[in-house]
C-alpha cells in the first residue's frame, strides 16, 4: 500500500500552530504554509527585524501566549514541513497550488486543516480611502511588527474589542490618541455584564483599558454616527455626530474597523458548504463542533471559519487536528477533545455577549452617501452600485459583481464584499443573508503571470 500523503495546514496563526503541534505529536509530519515570514498569525505576528522590544512590549498581556506559541512551533523543527512566505492560490482534489518566491509549486496533501484567519471588516465612510486612514488591524500591525505609528495624533473609530485594544496599545507606545469613537451606544455595553462570568479576565482587562484611555486624556465617545474623514490629500480631521451635535477632531491618522471578517476563499475552493451566520453577518463554511467540514478530510479552525478570537483558535486548531487523527485511524485523545469542545462552547457564549456589546451598525448601509467609494479596487461608488441595482433589478451578489465590477479587482471582494452585501440588502429591503455571497475563484490573491514561466524562461527575461 502506498504511503499516505501528509496533511496540509493552511495558516500559521494560533489555530494552525496548535494543529501542527498536535499532528506532529501523533507522528505525522504536516506541511504548514503561511504567507507571513514567521509564525504567529496576525495577533502574534513577529517583527520583520529585531527592534529591541521584547514580547512583553510587543504583545502586552498576551505576551506569554505569544511566546509559548512561537517557542512550541519552533521546537517542532523538522517535524513539520514549514513553508513561510508561501501563498496558497488554488486548491482542488488533494493538490494545493502554492506560490513562493515567485515560483508556483504543486503540493499534494491528504487531510486539510484550514486556519486562514480573518481581516478587518470595513464599511465605507466618506474619506475612508484618504492616505492616513488604516484599518484597526493595520494600525496594530504597524505598531507590532514594524514599531511605527500611523500618525502623531491618532483617532480610532468603529466598533469591536480591537478598537479599545489598539487605542490602548498606541497610548502605551507613547502616541497621542485623541479619541476613541465607538459606534455602539452605552446601552450595548451592559451586555459586557453577560460576558463577565464567562471570561472575567478579558472583560475586566477591556474595561481597564477604556478607563486608562479616559484617564490619560483620550476622549472615549460612545454612540457616534455620521462618521466622515476629511482632509486635502490626506487625513486632517475626523467628523462625527453624537447627541445630534456634529464634532470634529483634528488628527493625522485614523484607525477604523468594525470587528473582523473570516477569510473563507480556501474553504470555498475546497468545496465546503456555506451557511449564513447571523452573528458574523456573513456566509461561513459549515463545520461541526470538532471542526469537520462537510467535505471528508477538510477541517476548519480559527477565525477563518467564524470570528471567535485567538484563544478559540488555539483550541479549535488542536480539536480539528484530533478529528483528523481520528479520521485517519490514529490515536486521538477523546477526553482532551471534550475539554476543548467545552472551552469552545464557553467562548461561543462569550462571543454572543461581545457581539451585543459591540454591535454591527447595520443601519449604516442605508445612510451611506452616494459619492462614498464602495469598491476601492474598481473605483465604484455607493451611488453607482445603487443605480445598477435599480436599473438591472439586481438581488444577488454575484450579479451585482458581474454588472458593476464590485469585488472584481485585486481584493476579489475580500475588502468590499461585506459592504456591498449590506448595501444590496438595504437597497432591496432584504436581510443581508438573503442576497447570497460572492463565489470564490482562484487566485485567492493576485499572482504574477511570470509564475507560469519555468526557471529557464525566467532567466531569459530581458528585465533581469
Amino acid at each position: 500500500m502506498a504511503e499516505r500523503a501528509s496533511p496540509l495546514i493552511v495558516g500559521a496563526g494560533p489555530a494552525g500552530i496548535r494543529a501542527a503541534i498536535t499532528l506532529a505529536a501523533a507522528g505525522l509530519r504536516p506541511s504548514v504554509i503561511d504567507e507571513a515570514h514567521a509564525c504567529g498569525g496576525q495577533i502574534y505576528r513577529q517583527p520583520l527585524a529585531l527592534d529591541g522590544r521584547d514580547d512583553r512590549a510587543r504583545y502586552g498581556s498576551d505576551a506569554a501566549k505569544a511566546s509559548r506559541l512561537h517557542r512550541d512551533f519552533a521546537a517542532l523543527g523538522t517535524g513539520v514541513d514549514y513553508r513561510p512566505r508561501s501563498l496558497l492560490w488554488n486548491l482542488g482534489d488533494g493538490v494545493a497550488d502554492v506560490l513562493r518566491d515567485g515560483v508556483s509549486q504543486r503540493l499534494s496533501y491528504d487531510g486539510l486543516i484550514l486556519a486562514t484567519g480573518a481581516t478587518d471588516r470595513v464599511l465605507p465612510i466618506p474619506g475612508w480611502t484618504l492616505p492616513g486612514v488604516f484599518t484597526l488591524g493595520g494600525a496594530q500591525v504597524a505598531l507590532k511588527a514594524q514599531g511605527c505609528a500611523i500618525g502623531r495624533r491618532v483617532v480610532f473609530a468603529g466598533s469591536g474589542p480591537l478598537l479599545y485594544l489598539v487605542a490602548w496599545q498606541y497610548v502605551k507606545a507613547g502616541v497621542d490618541v485623541a479619541a476613541v469613537l465607538d459606534s455602539a451606544p452605552l446601552s450595548a455595553k451592559f451586555n459586557l455584564l453577560r460576558a463577565l462570568p464567562l471570561a472575567p479576565g478579558i472583560v475586566l482587562r477591556g474595561l481597564r483599558m477604556a478607563a486608562e484611555l479616559a484617564l490619560r486624556g483620550t476622549r472615549v465617545q460612545l454612540g457616534v454616527s455620521g462618521l466622515r474623514i476629511e482632509g486635502e490629500g490626506r487625513v486632517a480631521r475626523i467628523v462625527y455626530r453624537s447627541a445630534s451635535c456634529e464634532h470634529a477632531i483634528a488628527c493625522d491618522g485614523v484607525g477604523y474597523g468594525l470587528n473582523l471578517r473570516s477569510e473563507t476563499q480556501a474553504a470555498d475552493l475546497a468545496g465546503c458548504a456555506f451557511r449564513f451566520d447571523p452573528r458574523d453577518r456573513a456566509h461561513l463554511p459549515v463545520r461541526d463542533v470538532s471542526g469537520r467540514s462537510n467535505v471528508a478530510g477538510v477541517y476548519l479552525a480559527g477565525d477563518g471559519a467564524g470570528i471567535a478570537g485567538a484563544d478559540a483558535a488555539e483550541a479549535a486548531g488542536e480539536r480539528a487536528a484530533l478529528a483528523l487523527l481520528e479520521d485517519r485511524g490514529l490515536p486521538h485523545d477523546p477526553p482532551r477533545a471534550d475539554v476543548l469542545e467545552r472551552a469552545l462552547a464557553t467562548i461561543d457564549r462569550l462571543r454572543d455577549a461581545l457581539e451585543a456589546a459591540f454591535p454591527f451598525p447595520s443601519h449604516w448601509a442605508a445612510g451611506l452617501a452616494d459619492d462614498a467609494l464602495l469598491c476601492r479596487c474598481e473605483d465604484i461608488s455607493a451611488g453607482e452600485a445603487r443605480r445598477a441595482i435599480g436599473d438591472f433589478a439586481l438581488t444577488e451578489m454575484n450579479r451585482l459583481k458581474a454588472v458593476t465590477r464590485i469585488g472584481m479587482g485585486r481584493c476579489q471582494g475580500r475588502m468590499c464584499g461585506a459592504a456591498a452585501a449590506e448595501l444590496l440588502a438595504a437597497q432591496t429591503r432584504r436581510e443581508v443573508g438573503a442576497v447570497g455571497r460572492l463565489r470564490a475563484q482562484a487566485p485567492i490573491k493576485p499572482i504574477p503571470l511570470a509564475a507560469g514561466l519555468s526557471v529557464d524562461e525566467r532567466q531569459h527575461d530581458p528585465a533581469h
Partner: protein, 390 residues
C-alpha cells in the same frame, strides 16, 4: 398558487440569444415571456471571453455574422449601454509558415463577404501592434473588436423587460408540451400558454430538444480565462492565434483578459473552475507573447459552461418535429458576436416562418436526418437535468 400567463412567444433561456430575440419580438409587437432558470446572461453569454469577431468563422456563418456586425455599434440606442464595445480590430497570428498559409487561404475563401482582411508580415506586426515572440505573420480584420460579456446579455434582457417582455428569472421550466393551440409550459408556480417557443437554453438546450423528439450530440465545454490588474495600454487589438493557443484583449480600464485551455467541471456540471495547470499555461504563453505581462499580476480567473456541437456550428431554425418550436443553441464557444443577429433572425422566423439570412447549414436535422416526429403532444421534459447527450 399557480400564475397563468398567455403569450405569443415563450423563450426558454435568457442568454444573449434569448434576450435579443425577446427584444426583437417586442419591437414587432409580440407578447413575450423570457424564462431563465438562473439569471439572464449569467451563463455562457455572460462569462465568455468577449470577442466580437467575424474573422475565423466558417463561411456559412458569415451572412449571420455580418447581420450582427451591423447591430453592435447600435447597442447604445438598442439597449441603453454600449456594452464597452470597441471596434478595435481582430488580429489573428500565425506561429508557422503553415499557419500563415492557412490564414491566406481563409482570406481568399471569405473574400466575397467583404471582411476587409489584411495580411500582415512579421515586421509590421512588431511596428503596428507591438507583437513580440516567434510570430510569422497575421491577418487583421479592422471591423472586429471586443465587448464586455457581463453587461451585454444582461442589458438585452433588461431592455426587453422595459420594452414589455415578461422576464422571469430563477424560474426553471419543468414541463413543456405541444397543445392544440401551441405550447403549455410549467415553470415553478407559473403556467404559460404560448403560440411559439424558442429553445435558447444553451448548455441545457439538449434536454429540451430531446423532449420534443430531437436528441442532439451537444457537449459541454468550459473555457478558462485570466484577467490581469489594470496596466498601461499596450494592446490595441483583439488577438487570436491560428490553430488555437491563447486569445487576448485589453479593456479600456487597462485590464488584460487572456483565454485559452479548458476548465474542469465541478461535481455539479453546471459549474466549473479553471484548472491550475491550464491557467499557468495561459500565463506562460501570454507573458511570452506580450512583454508588459511579464511583470503583471493575474487578479482573477473565470470559467463558464458552453454548449458545443461536433461540427462547431450552432443549431438555429425550426424544429423538424414540432411546429412552432424554434431552436437556437450550441454556439460552440463562438456565440457572442453572432447572437444579436440570431435574435433578429428568430423574431423573423416567428413572424414570417422564414428569414432573409441563410441559416440552412444550422438545421437541427443535420443530427437526426432519420428522426421520427415523436408524439410531441405528450412530450414532457426537464431543463437542466443531468441527461446530457454523449
Amino acid at each position: 398558487m399557480t400564475r397563468r400567463i398567455d403569450c405569443d412567444v415563450a423563450i426558454v433561456g435568457g442568454g444573449l440569444v434569448g434576450s435579443s430575440a425577446a427584444l426583437a419580438l417586442r419591437s414587432m409587437g409580440f407578447s413575450v415571456v423570457l424564462l431563465d432558470k438562473g439569471f439572464c446572461g449569467a451563463q455562457a453569454s455572460g462569462v465568455n471571453y468577449g470577442g466580437v469577431r467575424r474573422q475565423g468563422r466558417p463561411p456559412e456563418q458569415l451572412p449571420l455574422s455580418q447581420r450582427s456586425h451591423a447591430i453592435w455599434p447600435r447597442l447604445q440606442q438598442l439597449i441603453g449601454i454600449d456594452g464597452e464595445f470597441l471596434r478595435s480590430g481582430h488580429l489573428k497570428l500565425a506561429r508557422s509558415a503553415a499557419d500563415m498559409a492557412s490564414l491566406e487561404h481563409y482570406a481568399a475563401d471569405v473574400a466575397p463577404f467583404e471582411l476587409d482582411l489584411e495580411l500582415v508580415g512579421h515586421n509590421q506586426l512588431r511596428e503596428r501592434f507591438g507583437i513580440a515572440g516567434d510570430i510569422v505573420g497575421g491577418s487583421f480584420c479592422p471591423g472586429d473588436g471586443h465587448a464586455n460579456p457581463r453587461l451585454v446579455a444582461t442589458a438585452f434582457a433588461a431592455a426587453a423587460g422595459r420594452a414589455g417582455a415578461e422576464v422571469l428569472e430563477r424560474t426553471k421550466v419543468t414541463g413543456a408540451s405541444r397543445t392544440f393551440e401551441g405550447f403549455a409550459l410549467e415553470a415553478g408556480d407559473v403556467a404559460i400558454k404560448a403560440r411559439a417557443v424558442i429553445n435558447s437554453a444553451g448548455a441545457w438546450a439538449d434536454s429540451f430538444a430531446a423532449a420534443f423528439g430531437e436528441p442532439v450530440p451537444l457537449e459541454r465545454t468550459y473555457p478558462s480565462m485570466i484577467v490581469t490588474e489594470p496596466l498601461d495600454p499596450f494592446l490595441s487589438v483583439n488577438i487570436g492565434i491560428e490553430g488555437g493557443g491563447i486569445y487576448a484583449r485589453q479593456v479600456t480600464r487597462g485590464n488584460v483578459v487572456v483565454g485559452g485551455e479548458r476548465a474542469a467541471p465541478l461535481a455539479d456540471s453546471d459549474f466549473s473552475r479553471p484548472r491550475s495547470d491550464g491557467v499557468l499555461t495561459i500565463m506562460q504563453r501570454a507573458s511570452e507573447l506580450f512583454g508588459p505581462l511579464r511583470h503583471a499580476q493575474a487578479i482573477r480567473f473565470w470559467s463558464g459552461t458552453e454548449a458545443t456541437m461536433p461540427d462547431r456550428n450552432p443549431v438555429i431554425g425550426p424544429s423538424a418535429t414540432t411546429p412552432g418550436l424554434i431552436h437556437a443553441f450550441g454556439f460552440s464557444g463562438a456565440g457572442f458576436q453572432i447572437a444579436p443577429g440570431v435574435g433578429e433572425v428568430l423574431a423573423e422566423l416567428v413572424r414570417d416562418g422564414r428569414t432573409s439570412t441563410p441559416i440552412d447549414a444550422f438545421s437541427i436535422t443535420r443530427f437526426s436526418p432519420a428522426s421520427q416526429p415523436g408524439d410531441a403532444s405528450q412530450a414532457a421534459m426537464t431543463t437542466g437535468s443531468k441527461e446530457t447527450s454523449p
